[in-house]
């Protein structure tokens, strides 16, 4: 009886936590980590879904039932990184292996006004506002996976842009899971501090060199000072046996802009939980993304924005292409607080279902406490249209090729958002390799 209500799977992480390296952590960090562990040990893995809005669509039982080692001995070659991730020699690139920053694999340019490097170094040297920023957006809240990540936080990547700096070259952080036959857990961590009136293009990439089941629990915290402009991209393509349970938290000050596009094709169970808090007047955020699923994959987008102050804009727009017996969920939430007059909020989730076995749960929701607000939301799920298919066929394009063109067309507007040339080419390539996989598992199109 007590078993049903006790937190799930906590003991599986306990010995790893007890053995985790605390030596280099400054005192404040050790305290934060201990607090986080106690939060996680009370919550456990959220396997209970009934009555639990946050986890209603995400079945985490497979995660709770698996065992993961905590092992930082894996090694990765530069060729492995370059062949699996977007890469451009002009980019400022930090590579993080199994949660540890790796200077040898990184491509750190000497661009002025930006520091890109190890989170561990930033902890020990007390860089910038790190003590007050770290785990202030994610980690102390009542949320199992941010707590779990924070409990293990000893390294990761740190990106800081000085005030008034407009960066030309993108900064990329690549989180690589090393090749191993063992199932392991890793806790990628990223802290981004963008000064006032600065701009940055930031690419976050998650790749997996292992084919076995890995658990990745990333946490990213982003601070946008007033008038900061952040163009953010997120690429998630871990292997299809793995679990990816990610949290991104963004705090935005006056007139800051945060624009994000994600491309998620990986993992057995993946969850992309992003929250932006529009904390000062005039802030705007754009949260867009494309997910493609096949086989037994599950991809969940948990997208939320809080309008705290007046005159802010939020735009959530996701597109999904689902095949096989895969599932996806879009849970979009916008909260407009009472003070946040003149808010403008839109939410949209459009899905293309290629098979009878695929399923999308879309739940856009608006919670509005102010009275002067413009808000709209919508979600659709449809199949490839047979009239459109006939149109293409009548021009000499066979059914398979026609379907591929239509799927690619559906994805186009999201792929177009990946602006840096090398990044666009990478996404284009991955998408064009994925489409035939999705098509091979499709069954609802071409029938009338």
């Amino acid at each position: 009886m007590t078993l049903a209500t006790s937190p799930a799977a906590v003991e599986k992480f306990l010995s790893a936590y007890e053995n985790a390296d605390q030596a280099k952590s400054p005192g404040w960090l050790s305290d934060t980590r201990q607090q986080a562990w106690s939060i996680f040990s009370e919550l456990g893995i959220p396997v209970k879904r009934r009555g639990n809005e946050l986890w209603k669509y995400t079945n985490l039982t497979p995660v709770a039932e698996s065992d993961f080692e905590y092992d930082l001995s894996g090694s990765v070659s530069i060729d492995q990184v370059r062949s699996t991730s977007p890469w451009d020699d002009t980019w400022n690139i930090a590579v993080v292996v199994d949660g540890r920053f790796n200077a040898d694999l990184s491509n750190l340019t000497e661009d002025d006004g930006v520091s890109v490097g190890s989170l561990s170094d930033a902890f020990s040297s007390g860089s910038g506002e790190i003590e007050s920023q770290f785990a202030s957006l994610a980690g102390r809240e009542e949320y199992a996976f941010t707590a779990l990540n924070t409990a293990f936080a000893s390294d990761g990547a740190y990106v800081a842009v000085a005030p008034g700096v407009k960066l030309g070259n993108p900064v990329q952080v690549i989180f690589v899971t090393s090749d191993s036959a063992k199932s392991r857990a890793s806790y990628p961590r990223l802290l981004v501090d963008v000064g006032s009136d600065s701009s940055i293009t930031l690419i976050e990439t998650y790749v997996n060199l292992s084919l076995s089941r890995q658990l990745s629990v990333p946490v990213t915290e982003i601070f946008a000072a007033s008038d900061a402009t952040i163009r953010h991209y997120r690429i998630q393509m871990e292997n299809e046996n793995s679990f990816h349970l990610a949290t991104t938290r963004v705090a935005q000050m006056e007139d800051s802009q945060f624009t994000s596009t994600s491309f998620a094709v990986g993992s057995s169970i993946a969850r992309n939980d992003i929250h932006t808090s529009l904390d000062a007047p005039g802030a705007s955020c754009t949260l867009h993304g494309l997910y493609m699923t096949s086989g037994q994959q599950q991809q969940d987008q948990e997208i939320s924005t809080t309008h705290v102050k007046p005159g802010c804009t939020s735009d959530q727009f996701y597109k999904g292409i689902l095949s096989g017996n895969s599932r996806a969920a879009f849970s979009g939430k916008v909260v407009v607080k009472r003070d946040a007059q003149k808010s403008d909020a839109t939410q949209k989730d459009l899905n293309l279902l290629l098979s009878r076995g695929a399923r999308i749960d879309a739940k856009p929701s608006l919670e509005i406490y102010a009275d002067d607000v413009v808000a709209a939301h919508g979600a659709t799920a449809g199949h490839v249209d047979s009239d459109t298919l006939f149109y293409l066929q009548s021009r000499g394009i066979d059914e398979e090729a026609a379907k591929a063109i239509l799927i690619r067309g559906f994805a186009e507007e999201m792929i177009d958002e990946f602006e840096p040339e090398s990044l666009n080419a990478f996404v284009e390539q991955v998408a064009s390799e994925r489409i035939p996989v999705l098509l091979a598992e499709s069954d609802t199109i071409g029938t009338t």
Binding site: D385, S386, D387, T388, F390, Y391, L392, Q393, S394, R395, G396, I397, D398, E399, A401, A402, I405, L406, R408, G409, F410, A411, E412, E413, G446, T448
Partner: protein, 255 residues
């Protein structure tokens, strides 16, 4: 040459839905045929059945191109043999640009015929020439295919496809009475400029208006799924004047 023999067709999987009830028609190379008829006579169905639309089923008779039956072929295979259907309401295809779409179509046809695919450079040259010839706003072809195009722009785009793909048998489905004069003119210009001894056209239309701009060699009146009368261009004028009443059973009974 296209030969339609005793063609019967029904809506797929629906019983007693026969629309074409024995159509016989022969279109020689270089000829322009107009098919006219009252609403519900099966004109649009005939155009779609010729192209192999999967919503219809041929239950009897045959369609021959140069003596070979195409009734069992897929739409893309018919296109490779030189058939083309200009749609009344072409589909809007988000995220697919006209260039990209037509290159895929052009390549598929070349491949099926064992010809060499045109290089990107040469195809772009051809495409740009045709865009200019058809008079499409070049900005438009950078956008998604037909998405947000006006009626006239969609027609121009169909004519662009006709020009680029150079079919030997073009079928134009212009059944709708609601087409504006501008759209009719665009279609007519497309047909007239493409008319050649090597290419035939079937123009399906309800009103004679379109035939003010295109002079057909032969006019057929389709009534209740069969050709009721065949004649020269003057037949269209008779229909324009008297309507289809004389072809309908029990004239007056339907009001």
């Amino acid at each position: 040459m296209l030969e339609i023999q005793n063609l019967h067709a029904s809506v797929l999987d629906i019983e007693n839905s026969e629309i074409l009830k024995g159509v016989d028609l022969k279109v020689n190379k270089g000829e322009v045929h107009a098919i006219m008829g009252p609403n519900g006579s099966g004109k649009s169905t005939l155009a779609n059945v010729l192209m192999g639309r999967p919503d219809y089923e041929v239950t009897d008779g045959d369609i021959l191109v140069d003596g070979e039956s195409i009734a069992e072929l897929r739409p893309d295979q018919r296109a490779h043999l030189g058939l083309f259907l200009a749609f009344q309401y072409p589909a809007e295809i988000p995220g697919v640009r006209p260039w990209q779409f037509l290159k895929a179509a052009h390549d598929a046809k070349a491949e099926a015929r064992g010809e060499e695919k045109m290089s990107v450079r040469n195809f772009t040259k051809l495409f740009d020439e045709k865009v200019e010839a058809v008079g499409i706003n070049p900005d438009l072809v950078k956008r998604s295919l037909n998405e947000g195009f006006s009626g006239g722009e969609k027609k121009r785009n169909e004519m662009l496809q006709l020009e680029v793909l150079q079919p030997s048998m073009a079928i134009l489905d212009e059944t709708d009475s609601g087409l504006d004069v501008d759209a009719l003119r665009i279609v007519a210009e497309g047909v007239n400029s493409m008319r050649s001894p090597e290419r035939s056209f079937i123009v399906v239309t309800h009103y004679q208006r379109l035939l003010n701009y295109i002079t057909p060699d032969i006019v057929h009146i389709l009534v209740d799924g069969k050709i009721a009368q065949t004649g020269g261009p003057e037949l269209a004028l008779v229909v324009e004047k008297d309507g289809y009443r004389e072809y309908l059973p029990a004239a007056g009974a339907t009001g």
